[in-house]
């Protein structure tokens, strides 16, 4: 017989967004027993559409695979086409691509922090972090004209230049962000409640990380030292100094630490790129794409982005295969969820930083016997209650005002 089995449909990625049962988790008593998932909600047939668009149009198309990592896909696609046709882009274009990619990494990690804070019950954190994310969005608007989907990258270089008078604005934004981030990191890593809440939760071992082929911060937090910017250098990453951040534990806290420290590394990279930016053209002329195939890889905020392009000599790709990082990161749930408590489900789900639109939405179909159904609102509530319970244990300890 055993304990009562409950089926929990887990909905949205955003707490305020309702989607039909994205996950269904089978729970016995307080522990997770099984999980399955399905995707289709966001499947827009992008790979087929790309076969009828020209190479220039495809950069606009792939930008809209995902709003949060909207520069990563064009860079990976352009890397693939440039690999196919052996195109060497100018130096200035390399530095501009690095600056845009790193700014996007900062904005994506800050977005994740806001949501993670909300999921464990720190609503001030959400508002505070997103307020600083606005600085990055405004910077993007100044450089490229749009807060998201910047349309800066094209095959052969970049579409727009970063003007000299904008350099000081970029450096000013970095100077404003850095002390805030340092303060935030200090507050998070010193807080006993967060450490108690997140340490040891949703652990992924190094062997499982390798078996499931995970990438990005998920892999680096489990001790797997991979980073596409260092292993397959593109743009200007081999021309500036920075380091790859790894942790050993593989739990939610380790992932948070990796992301936090990566923001600081990104600030470092952007400063160096602005300083070293060479003069020169921002693009090379690409008269035609010969028949052949090319592979482009790129480090998106969530991990390695992979594009495969096959050309038949016409001006449209014959085949475009896109693999976003979340495609391999999300199935790692199977290793992380089993045995965890219901109250931790939502933070484990969020910790992988799943970009559902990149992965075409996750939906779960499960046929466990269910007698009561908990919604995602119930799960959020459970998570918040757990945090309150831990806060009570540490009442009286010195804590940052931000995390009250």
């Amino acid at each position: 017989m055993g304990e009562m089995r409950t089926t929990i449909p887990i909905g949205p990625y955003h707490p305020l967004l309702e989607e039909p049962e994205l996950f269904r988790v089978v729970v016995e008593g307080e522990r997770v027993v099984d999980i399955d998932w399905r995707t289709s909600w966001n499947h827009r047939g992008i790979e087929k559409i790309a076969e009828s668009k020209t190479y220039d149009q495809v950069t606009f198309l792939v930008e809209r695979i995902c709003g949060i990592c909207s520069t990563s896909h064009p860079i990976a696609f352009c890397n693939a086409v440039e690999d196919l046709a052996n195109i060497d882009i100018p130096e200035r274009a390399r530095y501009i691509r690095s600056i845009i990619a790193e700014l996007e990494r900062i904005h994506s990690h800050l977005l994740w922090f806001g949501l993670a804070g909300h999921y464990i019950g720190y609503h001030t954190v959400w508002m505070w972090v997103w307020r600083y994310r606005e600085l990055v969005c405004e910077l993007f608007e100044k450089i490229s004209g749009n807060r998201q989907s910047y349309a800066m990258i094209k095959v052969g270089g970049t579409r727009q230049d970063i003007k000299e008078e904008d350099y000081s604005y970029i450096l000013k934004t970095m100077d404003e962000l850095e002390p805030k981030m340092n303060m935030f990191i200090g507050a998070v890593l010193d807080d006993p409640v967060i450490l108690a809440r997140l340490k040891g939760v949703g652990k992924l071992s190094k062997e499982d990380a390798i078996k499931r082929c995970v990438v990005g911060p998920v892999a680096r937090s489990a001790g797997v030292d991979i980073d596409t910017r260092r292993d397959y250098p593109y743009a200007a990453y081999d021309r500036v100094n920075w380091k790859v951040i790894t942790q050993e534990d593989g739990d939610v806290l380790a992932m948070a630490v990796v992301r936090l420290l990566e923001i600081l590394e990104s600030i470092k990279i952007i400063r160096q790129c602005v300083e070293k930016m060479p003069q020169g053209p921002i693009e090379v002329e690409v008269p035609e794409i010969p028949p052949g195939e090319g592979i482009g890889v790129e480090e998106a905020p969530r991990g390695e982005n992979f594009h495969y392009v096959r050309s038949d000599g016409t001006n449209c790709p014959a085949r475009l295969k896109i693999r976003a990082p979340s495609y391999v990161n999300i199935p790692s749930f199977r290793s992380r969820f089993i045995g965890e408590r219901v109250a931790d489900i939502i933070i484990i789900l969020a910790s992988v930083d799943p970009c559902y639109c990149c992965t075409n939405r996750m939906v779960k179909v499960d046929d466990g016997a269910g007698e009561r159904t908990l919604t995602d609102k119930d799960l959020l509530k459970l998570s918040w209650e757990e945090t309150e319970r831990i806060k009570n244990k540490f009442r009286g300890c010195k804590r940052s005002k931000l995390l009250e």
Binding site: E51, I226, I295, Y308, K321, Y327
Partner: protein
């Protein structure tokens, strides 16, 4: 790990089974094998040489469906892709999900959009297309026009009525 040359190792291990080996550049290598040898080569790269599995890609070409398995040797900065051809009209190949658990979902996706059957897959069912997508229509095949299957206005209205009636019950 000692410095290894994956191309050399693969040539030593499978001397007769490689149909073509193309080193496009030091970082991009393509190896063509027959469809029955793909699984062994995948297993060798993943288990013996320790490569990271990136993804599979598949495309519909004139001779048949071409399937590529992409692997990355991160420390050596090399991507090795194994290419194999699966002939039509009933494309099928051995699944690699039992060797590489991370390949389970991409095989389901290829099954959905191209109709390739993966033998011995633990859970081969619909993954990426909608529940209401008609069986037997494979959107990424060359002959498929890439259109929404319910083409005329009447068909679309009937389809919407059908959905309404399902949850009104």
């Amino acid at each position: 790990m000692a410095e290894l040359n994956p191309v050399q190792k693969v040539k030593e291990r499978f001397p007769e089974r490689i149909i073509e080996l193309w080193e496009k550049s030091p970082k991009r290598i393509y190896i063509t094998v027959g469809k029955e040898d793909a699984k062994d080569m995948v297993s060798y790269l993943f288990e013996d040489l320790g490569a990271r599995f990136i993804i599979m890609s598949a495309l519909d070409t004139r001779p048949g469906i071409e399937i590529l398995y992409h692997f990355s040797f991160d420390t050596l900065s090399k991507i090795v892709s194994i290419r194999t051809l699966v002939p039509m009209p009933f494309p099928e190949i051995e699944s690699i999900s039992l060797i590489i658990p991370g390949a389970e979902y991409i095989e389901r996706e290829i099954y959905d959009i191209l109709g390739v059957n993966f033998r011995n897959h633990p859970n081969l069912k619909r993954f990426i297309l909608g529940d209401d997508w008609p069986e037997g229509e494979y959107p990424l095949r060359r002959e498929h026009k890439g259109q929404f299957p319910y083409r005329t206005e009447e068909e679309q209205e009937l389809y919407r009525e059908e959905i309404r009636s399902k949850w009104e019950k």
